[in-house]
């Protein structure tokens, strides 16, 4: 594309993410590009919150002030749309006696946690008990959520190997809902107990979410064991914010250590703490940190993980996909037994479709 560079300025966003005080040093045009990159990375709510805290930008030119009004309206619009979907789910489940848990972004919004601010999600995730799955699917059908027709292979992939139903789409609003019955696929080597996740879940503002330790562990498992790499920066920012928020209660860290062991998620938890500290300087008390450090992988694995994570988080658009691909293979390796993985990747490559899916 000739001499015209249209790439988003992710390196600038990464600098601001590492050190929000950078914001005060940005020119108006750099500020503007950071808004674009943050919106694309679904971190607009985070950026605006940092701007509010610091009362920045100072005396913006009119065009930038307009852009900030727009950004604020967009972030509030995202969150409003998400709250409305949560409200529709509440209505669907009303009086059924079924237990359902809001996961990830929807959970952060429901519990009014910092990462819920101006939250933009592609889809809403909920978790139910596996035994309730068919009842829930039917109930959601009755309220307008439907599973679009798909290739029989994909249907089997979901039903046999995955920890969720195929994505459901609401027939009027076109919103997407993922119904999980665990936080990792059935075929994964790690098998965190769904029963324990359900039993420890808590009700906040009338909505059920994971307990703090499980919220962290779900995020860590998703980021460092599951497949969603595109949102890697955002997921790590979420974890950092949650660590800081939950860490204000001194009971949190010991509980996180205990629950990590109970759910057998030592490796993802180790990575979550390691990269949140490395990238964002997340404060962790000494005693739990010593326990967490014991879950480190062999140093060869750690080095390759370090370099992949660093590149996929901070790198420009041109080099990020390489690192992302490495992470993706690693995650699938953990998610599926080797033979399944080879079969799945072969099948997917023959069927065509997306670059990494």
């Amino acid at each position: 594309m000739s001499r015209i560079d249209v790439a988003l300025d992710y390196p600038m966003l990464a600098r601001v993410l590492r050190d929000p005080s950078e914001l005060s040093r940005l020119s108006a045009e750099e500020f503007s590009r950071t808004i674009d990159a943050a919106d694309a990375a679904r971190l607009l709510g985070w950026l605006l919150e940092r701007c509010r805290e610091r009362n920045l930008p100072l005396n913006p030119p009119r065009w930038l002030a307009d852009r900030l009004v727009t950004a604020d309206a967009r972030a509030r619009g995202y969150e409003r749309a998400l709250r409305w979907e949560i409200n529709r789910l509440q209505r669907a489940f009303l009086g059924t006696g079924l237990t359902w848990i809001l996961m990830k972004g929807a959970g952060y919004v429901a519990a009014n946690l910092p990462p819920g601010n101006g939250r933009r999600v592609a889809d809403i995730d909920i978790m139910v008990a596996e035994r309730d799955l068919s009842r829930v699917e039917q109930l959601l059908n009755e309220h307008g959520w439907e599973i679009p027709e798909m290739h029989p292979y994909d249907t089997r992939y979901y039903r046999e190997w995955m920890h969720e139903l195929p994505a459901m789409v609401h027939r009027d609003r076109r919103s997407v809902l993922d119904v999980h019955h665990g936080i990792l696929p059935k075929t994964s080597r790690l098998k965190p107990s769904p029963e324990r996740l359900l039993a420890h879940s808590i009700v906040v503002n009338g909505l059920r979410v994971f307990c703090p330790a499980h919220m962290i562990l779900q995020g860590a498992a998703h980021l460092f064991h599951d497949g969603d790499v595109a949102g890697a920066i955002r997921d790590l920012v979420d974890l950092d914010q949650l660590f800081r928020e939950f860490g204000r209660d001194e009971r949190f860290w010991p509980e996180l250590v205990a629950e990590t062991e109970a759910l057998d998620l030592r490796r993802p938890a180790y990575y979550a703490v390691r990269y949140a500290r490395l990238e964002f300087g997340t404060p962790v008390p000494a005693e739990p940190l010593r326990a967490i450090e014991r879950w480190a992988p062999p140093s060869v694995v750690r080095y390759s993980m370090d370099s992949m994570v660093r590149r996929s988080i901070a790198a420009s658009r041109r080099t990020a996909p390489v690192a992302a691909f490495g992470l993706w293979v690693r995650m699938h390796w953990g998610k599926m037994p080797a033979l399944h993985l080879v079969r799945h990747l072969t099948r997917k490559s023959l069927m065509g479709g997306g670059r990494y899916h």
Binding site: M1, S2, R3, I4, V6, A7, L8, D9, A28, E29, S32, R33, D36, A37, A40, P61, W63, L64, D66, R67, V69, T70, D72, A73, R74, R76, G77, R80, A81
Partner: protein, 296 residues
């Protein structure tokens, strides 16, 4: 005419156009984009600055495709809102990308799908679905001497309740093209093209006076929902305000982003104006009726 000299850097650092309240950065390596600007944007301020509300790039596809079937790719603030289009639509693609920007990225205002014209300090908002004839009516009013605020957007400023002008080239389709060429024999029109829905369209250069007044907001005086009907006698009928409010909210691009602010801005405007439906077939007749209804 202003200096078009900055256009020489269109394919490198780009240019900044001032269009209504917006600073638009545009970069393009497609010669059709430059030709388009040189045809209908000659009265607009064009500088070599890079600051912008919207950073628009219209770039040709690299590689062999460039020779087989030239395409124009749109990138706005780093994202690609549309699929590529044939390169001969690249000028129009600039207008369509601006429409997308205003609808999706200009939330200081409530953006309503409507044409707005003004005379003697009172703006008339013409709101209607595509095909209802609002653009034709708007263009005819402008050629008859009314000020053009926009043929596409009513931009309501929630703070002042005023309408911000966004004068741009006026889009004309199918039969409207010859009607307006007849009414505006000295006007400047872009060459005819076929859009992706198979309609023939051109853009008409906006009047210099309207472009010069782009910084002067207008007070809404009348809201009209026009509908062109073959051989119909002109009928301008008052409608309930609640009905007008519902229709305008439905025609608003960013109502969902603005929430309560959007509702209050539209309700405020409807509360202060007279609202009508308009059925017409004779442009001269309806222009006269609107002029007298407005001064009533």
């Amino acid at each position: 005419m202003r200096s078009l000299e900055p256009l020489s850097q269109l394919d490198t650092a780009g240019v900044q156009l001032s269009i209504g309240p917006f600073r638009v950065r545009l970069r393009s390596d497609i010669v059709g984009v430059r030709t388009y600007l040189e045809t209908v944007y000659t009265d607009f301020p064009i500088t070599s600055e890079t600051a912008a509300h919207f950073d628009i790039a219209i770039v040709s596809t690299a590689g062999w495709r460039q020779w087989m079937r030239p395409q124009a790719n749109l990138v706005v603030n780093g994202v690609r809102p549309f699929l590529p289009l044939p390169e001969d639509l690249s000028g129009a693609l600039f207008e369509w990308s601006l429409n997308w920007c205003v609808g999706d990225h200009a939330h200081r205002w409530v953006a309503i799908h409507a044409a707005v014209v003004e005379r003697d300090g009172q703006a008339v908002v013409l709101s209607g679905v595509s095909g209802a004839g609002k653009s034709t009516l708007c263009a005819a009013l402008v050629v008859a001497g009314w000020r053009l605020l926009s043929d596409e957007f009513a931009l309501v400023d929630p703070q002042s309740g005023l309408l911000s002008p966004l004068p741009r080239p006026v889009s004309l389709k199918n039969q409207s093209i010859s009607i307006l060429k007849q009414r505006n024999p000295s006007g400047v029109f872009t060459p005819e093209r076929i859009d992706i829905e198979g309609a023939t369209f051109v853009h008409m250069k906006p009047p210099l006076a309207s472009v010069r007044q782009a910084g002067e907001p207008a007070r809404p005086g009348m809201i009209v929902f026009p509908r062109w009907t073959r051989d119909a006698a002109t009928r301008l009928e008052p409608i309930p305000k609640a009905y007008a409010l519902m229709r305008l909210a439905h025609q608003s691009f960013n109502y969902n982003y603005l929430g309560v602010r959007g509702y209050e801005a539209i309700a405020g405007m409807v509360g202060r104006t007279d609202c009508y439906t308009l059925e017409y077939s004779d442009l001269d007749d309806v222009i006269g009726r609107l002029a007298s209804a407005r001064t009533r």
